[in-house]
Amino acid sequence: MTHDPQWSDPPPLASKLLRACCRPARREEIEGDLFELYARRVVRSGVAAARRRYWRDVLDVCVRQLCLRLLRGLRRPAWSGALRVYPLRIIAALVSCAALLAVPASAHPWAIVATTVLFVMQGVIEILVYIFAIRGMVTRRRARRAPRDG
């Protein structure tokens, strides 16, 4: 089919846009379906019409896929999961943000000191979280290896 002098590949920019918008798990079949329809339309209505229709289909698929992903994100908010896993980290970040917003409102030296202390505390909490996460990973890996070694 690609040796046909009348043949032309689908618009490359549209194909790139399609690849960017689709989830990797669904990319192959969506690209394949649109390619199949494009090839059929080239034979039936010519390259120009097929390319126009390809662009229309790609934009339609992209808008719908992005809307679907957005709706899924709203239905399962990431922040609720993060709050459950890292409660101290999220609370520290929220308090720091609130303090950062409050400082310009009251330029009292104590407010600046309090904000600095909060930022330092947040940094310490971040470091502790990473230490615990790494320790947890090491413990799990050891637990997995233990039965094999034993």
């Binding site: 079949e29 379906d33 329809l37 090839a39 289909d57 992209c62 808008v63 719908r64 896929q65």
Partner: protein, 130 residues
Amino acid sequence: MLAVATAGLPGRDISSILRKKSGGGVVALQLAGLEEWALLAIVALDGEAYGVSIHDKLQRAGMEASLGAIYTSLERLEEKGFVRSGLGDASPSRGGRRKRLFRVTASGKQALAATQEIRGRLWTLEARST
């Protein structure tokens, strides 16, 4: 909303048709417009259902639906457990890419039957009122 709209229907309790047991909880069966047509097309295509063939089937039945709308419906149907999918073989006509073939599950067939039954009851009511 559907349960309220059909609350006055004769015969056995409509909630028994509308609801199914799933993992200990009760889930209302939901089939939106294009989802029902896509599900019917998958049943008709019998193992050969993928994006383009569903699109063609709907077009031949007189329904113009874009591929984007069909993919969205298929993803929702899969989330609800009414269809399951698997990747087929690659072919040169698709630029060497594989198809995703869809099959209707038992709960999908149950949902279609429930929708059909509700529609039949509503038509009977419509015929009685006229």
